[in-house]
Each structure stands twice: as C-alpha cells, then as structure tokens.
C-alpha cells in the first residue's frame, strides 16, 4: 500500500511545487526581509552615532576616518556641557523620588481606595499623556515664568514630576491589581498593625513594579525635551536643551560623543528596568 501511494503523492507534490515554493519559501522569505528592514530602520539612528563619535573630522563624514577620543575629552572637559549634564541628572534623580512616592500613594488609593470621583481622577492622571506636549510646555512657561520657576531646579522638579507620574501610576497599578490582598489580611490577623502590614508585606510585593516605574520616571525626566526647551534659563539648562542649541547652531562631533554616552547610559538603565519587570512576572 505504502509503496503504491508514495509515488503518486510525490507526483502530486511536484505538480503543485511551484505554488508550494511560493507559499512555503518565498512568502516567509519576503516577510522576514521586510521585518528585518524595519528592525534595521528602528535601530540605525541609535547606532549610527557611535562611529560618528570617534572620527577625526570636525564635520559630518561617513565613513569616518581616523580614530580619536578627542570629542569625548571635549565633552567631559567643557564646563557648559558638564553643567547641563549635572543639572539634568540632579533633576532626574529628584524627579524619580518625588514621582515614585506621589505616584505609588496615588496608585494605592486608585486601586484599593473607596475614592469619590475615581474615574475623573484616573482620567486626570493620564491626561498629561494625551494633551500635546507643546501645549503643556507653553502653558507651564506662562505660569512658571512670573513666579520665578524657570531656569531653576524647583521649576523643573515640579514640571517633570507631573510628566513622569503617569509612568509610575501605570506600572504600580498593574502590580497592585495582581497583589493578593489575603496576604495582607493574614499579616493583620497575626497581629501586625496596618503600617507594619504595608511596610513588610505589601511594599516588598509591589516593589518590582515600583522600581520599574522609578526607572521609567528617571528616563522620562532625563530625556524630556519639549518642556525643558521652554523653561530652561541661561544658567539652569538641561542637557536636552543644550543639545538642541548645539544641533541647531553648532553641529560638531561632540554631539555624537554626547549621544553615544546618552545611548549607553539609557540602554543600561532600560536593561535594568526590563530585568525588574521580568522578575515581577515570575
């Protein structure tokens, strides 16, 4: 039986082979190359800055010739660049702390609280993500400038905390919704006070989400450019504003060096956040 059916099957296959080839080989091949090209398009602008930062020419040259660390040295010794970098780092660290605390407290109330107008508060919290950033930036400048909140740490801290808090709320609400309340009830039954139960049971359980939210908040502040463009001053200038000015007026390879440093810095942080989130899932 098998001997007689086998040749006829191969005949059939051979007859259909052209269509079969298109379906099984050519289709996936085209599909895979389209996907590959899109992925290349996605990472190319991030990676191109690395070769650009080590070329010796003082203008844009590709492929870069020579190998130098001059532009990195220029970046790390330039007082303006360093001031902008430290200013951004200081703001981002402070923003991380404030937005993580405010966002976590808010998330607890949104998930576990009997809150009047919960829907409205939820919508309000996420609305900074819907309103065009240019509108927020201009509005903040309008209100902050007369009261001396532009070009300084406090103004940036307030504005960036508002912009980063939605990220914290999204990640913390997600872990809180998965948290098993009976664990907290068990702790209370065993004699723990409410604060104790929160500190020793709830907080460690939601910590991965809080930490991931904190990393996102840090990056959201450190990368923020539109509001920073408007509320930066001559002395209080973020690295994003400094980069904007230099790209606009003074396009030197220092920008490629700064970009490379930023890319490596963000990738390390992003890897950390991914790690925390994957731990949360397990």
């Amino acid at each position: 039986m098998a001997d007689t059916s086998l040749p006829s099957r191969t005949m059939q296959l051979r007859r259909r082979s052209k269509a079969y080839f298109v379906e099984s080989t050519l289709g996936p091949l085209i599909f895979a190359s389209v996907v590959g090209l899109v992925l290349f398009f996605l990472v190319l602008p991030t990676l191109i800055v690395i070769p650009m930062s080590v070329g010796t020419a003082s203008y844009i040259q590709f492929p870069p010739r020579g190998l130098t660390l001059k532009w990195y040295l220029d970046y790390f010794t330039d007082p303006d660049w360093m001031a902008a970098t430290w200013f951004s780092l200081k703001i981002a660290f402070a923003t991380t702390i404030t937005s993580t605390i405010i966002g976590t407290l808010g998330s607890i109330a949104l998930v576990r609280g009997k809150l009047p107008g919960k829907g409205f508060i939820q919508a309000l919290t996420l609305s900074p993500m819907v309103v065009p950033h240019i509108v927020i930036a201009v509005a903040i400048y309008l209100v902050f400038a007369p009261v001396g909140l532009t070009g300084n740490f406090t103004g940036f801290l307030i504005a960036h905390t508002m912009l980063s808090v939605p990220y914290v709320i999204i990640t913390v609400t997600a872990v809180l919704q998965r948290f098993d309340v009976t664990l907290e009830l068990a702790a209370l039954n065993c004699g723990a006070s409410r604060p104790q139960a929160f500190w020793f049971i709830v907080l460690p359980n939601i910590m991965p989400g809080v930490a991931a939210g904190a990393v996102f908040a840090f990056l959201a502040s450190f990368d923020e450019a539109t509001v920073a463009f408007f509320i930066s001053g001559i002395n209080g200038k973020t690295i994003t504003r400094k980069m904007f000015e230099d790209i606009d007026f003074n396009l030197t390879p220092i920008i490629a060096a700064v970009s490379t440093v930023l890319v490596i810095f963000t990738l390390v942080l992003m890897g950390g956040a991914q790690f925390l989130q994957s731990r949360k899932r397990n």
Binding site: F31, P45, G106, I121, P128, V131, F230, M243
Partner: protein
C-alpha cells in the same frame, strides 16, 4: 451571621480590602495638587488667555486663525502629516508585531530590544542621527554617490519627507507594542482552524487574524496620531521653514514673536483638534466593536 466591625486606626476606614474615602483622598492629595498646579491650572490659564481681554472677551485671535489661509493650511498640513505618519507606522509595524508573536527565546529578545531601543533613545539623539543620515554630505548621500547611483547629492534634509521619516521612526514603537499585545492574545488555533476549513494563508490572515487584532491597531493608531500632532523637537530640527507645523508655529509665536494670546489661540485649536480626533477615533472603535464582535 453578622461580622463585627473591626476598629480601624486609619481615619474612618470601613474595610481592610478597601480604604475609606477620606484616607484615599489623603493618599491622592499630593498627586491631585501637583496636577492642578502644573497641568490643569496652566493649561486653563493658557486657554483663558486666548479669549480674555482686560475688559471682557474676544474671539479675535481665533478669528485670525480662521481667516488667514496660512494658519488653516498649517493646521491642515499638521493633521495630514500626522495621518500619513500613522498609516506608514501601521504598515511598517504590523509585520514586525506579527513576527514577534511567531519567534521564540533569543530572537524574541532581540526583536523586543530592537523595538524598545529607539523608544528610550533621547529624541535629540535621534534627530541628530537623522541630520547625519540625510544631510547633503550625510551618510545616505555618500553611500549613494560612492555606489554610483547618483552624481549630485539629493536634497533630503529640511523637507517634509525628512520630518515624516524621523517622526515615523520615533512613533513606530508606539504602534508595534499595542498590535503585538493584541496579536499575542489571539490563539494560534483560530488561524489553523480557518486553514483546515479551506482558507488559504492569506485569506485566513485577512478574515481571522487581522480583524481580531484591530483593537491593538486602533490603540496604536490613536497613540501615534496624538503624539504626531504635538511633535515639537523633531520638526523643529529636521524640518525647514517650508514644513512649519502647529507645534513649531506655537513655539515660534511664543519664543520669537512673543504673541502670547495668539499662541494661546493656536494651542486651543491644536488641543481641540486632538480631543476631537480622539473622540472620533473612540466612536469608530466602539462602532467597529459592535459590528465585529456582536
């Protein structure tokens, strides 16, 4: 049986599972105060400024937007560009999102990294990269010239095309991720069942997989569209005077011309356009749901 009420120490808490209204309000107070001070009040103040004069109200600034073809053109161009960017993002994002559901382990990690890297690369780094790539003496022109495809460099930077490419690149992850999560929830057996019932692979995709992934497509498109409407940094750096958009126009009115009431009116128009489009999107989304999922 009545369960005796436990005495609570936190305000007038009524249950352990759910915090009392007063305690919840106390927890959200810093958040609400922050949002009022740095979001609601400033945006409200800006909108107020667009209609208020020292002695009453005026529609003068909105009429100026309405009456001058220049400003309506810019608004229209902004909406058009956001639309084109959204469609382009969708066409590029779908195959990637689909592929992400097919691969496993190492390849899945590589693809996720490729999608997330641009998301967290500073918008300034990306704008700079596009300048490097698209410039007269940039990477692409050099490669094309060296390979003999062109003799004169192409004019690519500071055009509508360069703004479109840079914006599509920035917004692509916002399209890929929701489509990916929507595709991920569709059981693979559904497409297999369609194949068993005689559908070809293309038919199975268009009749089963694509319709089921539409919620993700809508979510991604909405996000991309909203963000595209308000883009400021990228068009300001890679666009030229010919590619003025709403966001760059608002920036120009405030930083160069110091015409605050007019900038406020433009912001009002942009905000209204955004909210209107969100509402339309929501509406079509719910209509579609009604048709497709009963």
């Amino acid at each position: 049986m009545r369960i005796p009420k436990r005495r609570m120490r936190l305000f007038d808490a009524t249950s352990v599972r759910q915090y009392s209204p007063s305690f919840s309000l106390a927890l959200t107070a810093p958040l609400i105060l922050l949002l009022i001070f740095s979001f609601l009040y400033p945006v409200g103040r800006l909108l107020w400024m667009s209609v208020a004069t020292p002695d009453g109200f005026t529609a003068e600034h909105y009429l100026r937007v309405w009456n001058q073809p220049l400003y309506l053109n810019i608004l229209w161009r902004t909406i058009q560009l956001a639309f084109v960017v959204t469609v382009a993002s969708f066409l590029l994002a779908y195959p990637v999102a689909y592929a992400m559901t097919l691969v496993k382990n190492r390849w899945a990690a590589v693809m996720t990294a490729c999608v997330l890297i641009p998301l967290w690369t500073s918008v300034l780094v990306r704008s700079y990269s596009w300048i490097v790539l698209l410039q007269r003496n940039g990477v692409i022109n050099n490669l094309l010239r060296d390979s003999g495809v062109i003799t004169d460099p192409l004019h690519m930077l500071y055009t509508e095309g360069s703004v479109m490419i840079a914006m599509t690149h920035s917004l692509l992850p916002f399209m890929i991720l929701p489509i990916y999560s929507a595709l991920n929830t569709i059981p693979l057996e559904l497409a297999k069942a369609a194949r068993n019932l005689g559908a070809g692979p293309i038919q199975a995709f268009f009749r089963v997989t694509l319709p089921l992934s539409l919620p993700g497509v809508y979510a991604g498109s909405l996000m991309t569209f909203i963000l595209a409407l308000g883009f400021y940094i990228t068009p300001a750096l890679v666009g030229g005077p010919q590619t003025l958009m709403m966001a760059t126009l608002i920036g120009q009115q405030t930083t160069e011309l110091l015409n605050w009431p007019f900038a406020a009116a433009l912001s009002g128009v942009l905000l209204a356009a955004t909210l209107l489009l969100v509402a339309i999107f929501r509406k079509t989304l719910s209509l579609n749901k009604g048709v497709q999922f009963g």
